[in-house]
Amino acid sequence: MNTGVIISGLGHGLLILWLLFGGWFSRPEEAEFTTTEVSILSETEFLALTAPARAPSIVNEAPDVPAPNTELAALPPVPSDARPTPAPQPDQPTPPNPEDEPDVSRLTPAPPKEVADDLPDLPIPPAPEESANLIPDIGAPRPVARVAPTPSPAPTPELDRAPEVSKAPKPSEDAAEQLPEDKDAAPEEAAPEIVTEAEVTQKQGTAPASSIRPTARPARVAARPEPKPEQKPAPAPEPVSPPRDALADALAEALSGSGDAPTGPPLTFGERDALRVAVSRCWNVGSASTEALQTTVVVGVEMTPDGKPVQGSLRLISHSGGSEASARQMFEFARRAILRCGASGFDLPKEKYGRWRDIEMTFNPEKMRIR
């Protein structure tokens, strides 16, 4: 009987102990969770995302790349050869578009449509500064910059690649016939464009870059009236001003403070108290009338960077508790105090000049009254 009880007791005891402390000796395996944000895109949206990458680049290029176009025009066959690389991606729309010079001309009109689809509210394409600051990863604009300057010098580096590309044509047999004629020029063009397209497609695949835009921009659009963005796309200079309203100004205020004066953190209690004590020492109301001692005045003063009051800046801002005459009198006492003790400069932190350049001092004689 006892044995059974003992066994049962031990068993239960062990069970309880295990429940209580079992977890201490075995580290629970923490399931690793990897989260990825997924956005659902329709086919049109996906196309729109892929296209816009080109769009901006071409938009910007268009004006700058007339010369290369002529060269490209002279080399129609190359683009067809270059396609094989994008070919693995079963893009149906792409095959009909290329092959001819019209590529460029077609692309130029395309961007507006695509941009309109993706970001109907955003005439932002002209705003290079913002995009650069906010979304440094965006691949779309960069190829533009690269392509624009490179086109002219491009021929030489591409010449190196040309042979490689020319070797590649393996798949296309028809092209072999034309290759011998345009070897030099054809590969040159193909190389830069292919690279940019590849990068664009890859970056488009990393969607996050494009997903960041919508979050930031809606806020700006909301901040401004809607009509503005419509008008802005037409004039080129706008891109500079609008972003500053929203960002630059806010950042400027937060970082630089007021104007050109250095503004550090707000004055500490000790710094403010030191100023208060300094002025108090010279605030002599011994000769003030009893009525004047009923009057509180607020005096404004502008300070020089070396902590001295600007004499002409002293002004009576407001008063309470007395007549105009007594306020005037108390202002004189206050002014005398500020000028007298500030003659050699108040001990104020120069690095915070912006904080104390303008001071409003309230002189409250309540404690100084006759009681």
Partner: protein, 440 residues
């Protein structure tokens, strides 16, 4: 628990402190404590525009400086400490020289005389503001009125700095006393506020008490015992003529005082052992009783607007202060402190009442607001009594008598702050002062 609270405070502090110091716009600070000390000023000797004016310029400068320093509100910087020199009344002031000696105000002036008349012009400068304080002014008079001219200059300086009217160009009438205590001779005397130019209005043949100036300063009311009983007289200072007021047999009249209009006199009339307050129209001689009852009501004093009268009465069993309408009526007690209150005098500003208080064998001069609040005792001695206000309501003059057989009364003045208690210079002993209004 305590640890939790401390932790919470520690965590909260970094967030609350910046909030407290958050600054939006100009830096704002509040100064609620200052210093109370005499304002240092410099008064270099006024320029003598003619050789014969040199002595006058010197004297006038000294009077002006003494007036200002005598208030206790200003402190003169000795001439020996002056760095700057005023060589011409119109030459620009070198403020730096005066700042160097910490002179906050600078008084410059020039004196001219033809032997009979004098002209004095002056300027006041706020040294630390590098600017004049008001425009320059010029006063003229005879050489005999030199002191008055100097007082006028001092009044202007005082007024411009303090913001309230001056009181230097004023006179004081008082009872000049002489002789031993048991055979004291009393005469009415009048002098400048500073004790100069004393002259006597009555002889020593009879005892006189409680002189009071009229609002215009051209007449004096006083009480005389020349008939053996106290009787009120009015003395015209211009014509030096006098007349008895309300001369009725079997009565005693005393403690007179003018109403603000100068046409009515209030006084105490004692008849049959009862003392009440009456008013007398000086134009038609009509008399009106203002108080009634068995109590002793006396020492009436009008408010500056003439609507009320403050007086002392023992109707509650002890001597206290009451206020009643000028036309008479029920008095409202305003003094409730310990001790006895008497000789109330309404301030020219109308906001305070000065009084004599007797408590535990000592006398005090004090002030209280017209509702009896904020009572402050300014002095304490063996015997202080009979306060009178300066024209600007800033200073109180009173009588202080020393104890003992050789004790004698003297005039003292004190600022209503309780500071600057000083004896007023008089020719001999003096008591019962009454301050005149500012002279025209």
């Amino acid at each position: 628990m305590l640890r939790t609270v401390l932790l919470a405070l520690a965590l909260a502090s970094p967030f609350t402190v910046p909030t407290a110091f958050a600054q939006d716009g100009p830096l704002r600070i509040e100064i609620d404590e200052g210093v109370i000390e005499p304002l240092p000023f410099a008064a270099p000797t006024f320029i003598a525009e003619t050789p014969r004016a040199a002595a006058l310029a010197e004297e006038i400068t000294r009077i002006v400086a003494a007036d200002l320093a005598g208030t206790g509100l200003f402190r003169e910087i000795p001439m020996a400490a002056h760095i700057g020199r005023i060589t011409s009344f119109d030459s620009p002031v070198q403020y730096a020289d005066w700042r160097a000696i910490n002179a906050q105000a600078l008084v410059t002036g020039a004196v001219n005389t033809d032997g009979t008349n004098i002209t004095v012009k002056f300027r006041l400068f706020d040294v630390f503001s590098n600017a004049p304080l008001g425009d320059g002014l010029q006063f003229g008079g005879t050489t005999a009125s030199l002191r008055r001219v100097a007082h006028k200059v001092a009044d202007q300086v005082y007024s411009r700095i303090t913001g309230e009217g001056g009181y230097f160009d004023s006179r004081v009438v008082y009872v000049a006393e002489s002789g031993p205590k048991n055979a004291r001779q009393k005469r009415l005397a009048v002098m400048d506020y500073d004790g100069a130019n004393t002259s006597y209005l009555t002889d020593a043949a009879s005892i006189v008490l409680a002189p009071r100036f009229s609002p215009a300063g051209d007449r004096v009311l006083y009480t005389s015992y020349e008939t053996g009983f106290p009787r009120i007289y009015a003395l015209n200072l211009n014509q030096m003529t006098r007349r008895a007021l309300d001369d009725q047999p079997g009565t005693m009249t005393f403690a007179p005082r003018f109403a603000p209009d100068g046409n009515t006199v209030v006084f105490s009339l004692s008849q049959g052992g009862n003392t009440d307050i009456y008013s007398l129209n000086l134009a038609n001689g009509s008399r009106q009783r203002l108080t009634s009852g068995a109590s002793i009501d006396t020492a009436p004093s009008f408010s500056p607007d003439g609507r009320f009268i403050v007086y002392e009465s023992d109707q509650s069993g002890s001597q206290q202060l009451y206020i009643m309408p000028a036309g008479g009526g029920e008095g409202r007690r305003i003094s409730f402190g310990k001790g006895r209150y008497g000789t109330p005098v309404w301030s020219p500003r109308g906001d305070q009442i000065a009084f004599t208080k007797q408590y535990q064998g000592r006398f005090h001069i004090g002030v209280m607001r017209t509702d009896g609040s904020e009572e402050r005792l300014l002095t304490a001695s063996f015997l202080d009594e009979g306060p009178t206000w300066s024209p600007n309501g800033r200073v109180i003059m009173f009588t202080r008598e020393t104890a003992g057989a050789g004790g004698a009364p003297a005039l003292y003045s004190v600022d209503i702050t309780g500071r600057n208690l000083r004896r007023v210079s008089t020719v001999g002993a003096g008591s019962d002062p009454a301050w005149s209004p500012l002279l025209p």
